[in-house]
Symmetry: C2
Subunit: 332 residues, 2 copies
């Protein structure tokens, strides 16, 4: 299988590292034949780019220095012209426009490529449209890494729960906020816990996307539109972040035997879907109570099994790289 | 897809009920063309047996009274002679010999039928042999319902974690014992909690298979041989049940912030596999701590994602019936 990578940051490199590590164990030969990253340039080699050289070039920010290297391209045209079986879209996330990933995915599908992405933007904003396009061109669109990184939440619901109706999805979908809230359990203030998360690289310098619930909201949009069949958009999701949670509120919760968690939730109510992201004070009986730190979890309520829960990492270079690998393997 | 059912007790009826309920939502037409149960007789109808009539006949124990009914057959011959795409094996479990399911599965594979079973006996005792036979005849052997009923633990590990190496499996694999231990948390003695479980139908009149850990051991054999690639047998699994757990031990554990759980565990140690089923006193930090009542759970330790946990029902008519449906859907 021949892969084209668009974007080669943390996730792209995490995927290439796994591919290198597992080369001899994979059921099929998987080769990266083209890479392009806006900051590092790209390279094309129809016989497969040497992964070790690629990772070295990326670590010095100079992918263009490889054999077959290129400094700058028109990306949509690059996607269209370079032959490959799968385009892996791992550029940066934009929750306003979904760009540039949205355009990349459209170009890939139209030129006959399957698509694997971990990019929340296009899937949260345009899933129905992109799915229709994939169907029209008889291609497959995979996006396990958009939710819970490589923890196979989407595949669980899609393939393992096939034949079940999912009526409700409820989860801890953002590791950064869960890490902050877990640390606040020990008495830290919100700003201390945030600083700690930033120090460890769990939170960005501008933490807005995580702490105001935007990231969790994107994931709820994806889960809702993909699994509950709802065509909802950002304005349909009530969203509240964790910046209003004080040390006192956490202390009070502890005294009641409870914890504050940022919960994303979507449920089918007749032919409407109710969706929200907000802090909830939950008790020990709640299946999400013991999901702490950077762990994420989703509880699916089904008509056949009642509640089925999956718990696993929600982020990480290797973990999200694995999401790409697992999607690619499912294509073969 | 044409199905033959061998055995038509709780699980078989649970499956037929789901099939009737979901008839119009399934991606493919699935028909039961043959049924045989030792106690109720059988029926054959190449155009599909009417499910409502079948379930009514079963509730009065007289499947043979249906059109195309038969009182007694030689089962292996019946499996061989009656055409169908899939044989569903849901007779009773025998952990000593795997029979009669073992013979049924062999006959089905040899006569070109795919096999779906929830029967732990043949998979726990003869997985490697049956898998080779399935491969030889180019048929598929599915058994999601042997572990955690319909909760898709096997499929999660097999398909969603494809590309990962699983190094360790650890879980609460038996609902009866977990229910008893959970009730003992409230101060009940072992025998009171057992009686309560029997009253609710969670434990059988002779509870040995559950409380002595045989059922959990069968599941550990299945998980080990299927997912860790180990060819281990009963004698390789250390097994201890919960009958030695006293109210005092439970009280002591509570005072330490801990709980007793019956844990099945298998880990790869170099080229050996260490497997056991035994009561363990676990602390709050343990991912299995909050899995209470009849719930089951497995934690898979992988080389790509660290720990991934699934939690769901471990038993039930509808839940295990769904395991059969989900396996059948995965064949199509």
């Amino acid at each position: 299988m021949k892969i084209m990578m668009i974007g080669f940051g943390t996730v792209g490199q995490g995927f290439a590292e796994l591919l290198l590590e597992k080369k001899n164990e994979l059921p099929e030969k998987i080769e990266i034949v083209a890479v392009y990253d806006k900051k590092m340039g790209g390279a094309v080699n129809h016989n497969g780019i040497d992964l070790k050289s690629l990772l070295e070039a990326a670590s010095s920010g100079q992918v263009y220095s490889l054999q077959g290297g290129i400094k700058e391209v028109d990306v949509p045209n690059f996607i269209k012209e370079v032959p490959s079986d799968v385009m892996v879209e791992v550029t940066y996330t934009n929750l306003e426009t979904g760009e540039p990933a949205y355009t990349h995915i459209i170009e890939a599908l139209k030129s006959g490529k399957n698509v694997v992405t971990t990019n929340k933007g296009p899937i949260a904003l345009f899933y129905n449209e992109l799915k229709s396009l994939a169907d029209k061109y008889n291609r497959i669109l995979k996006f396990e890494g958009t939710v819970l990184s490589g923890t196979p939440a989407i595949n669980l619901a899609f393939s393992s729960l096939k034949g079940s109706k999912i009526n409700k999805i409820r989860g801890i979908l953002n590791g950064t906020t869960n890490y902050i809230l877990t640390n606040m359990q020990t008495g830290m203030s919100y700003s201390e816990a945030l600083k700690e998360a930033q120090k460890l690289g769990y939170a960005e310098a501008d933490p807005t996307g995580d702490v105001e619930g935007w990231d969790a909201m994107a994931k709820i949009l994806i889960l809702t539109n993909v699994l509950l069949g709802g065509g909802i958009t950002k304005k349909d999701v009530f969203r509240e972040g964790i910046t209003g949670i004080t040390a006192d509120m956490v202390k009070e919760a502890i005294m009641e035997g409870k914890k504050w968690k940022l919960i994303g939730e979507a449920k089918v109510m007749g032919n409407r879907i109710e969706a929200s992201v907000k802090p909830q004070k939950i008790s020990k009986e709640d299946k999400l109570y013991s999901v702490d730190g950077v762990l994420n979890s989703i509880v699916f309520t089904t008509d056949t099994l009642g509640e089925v829960q999956i718990v696993g990492p929600g982020a990480g270079r290797r973990e999200t790289g694995y999401a790409v690998l697992s999607d690619i393997l499912s294509l073969s």
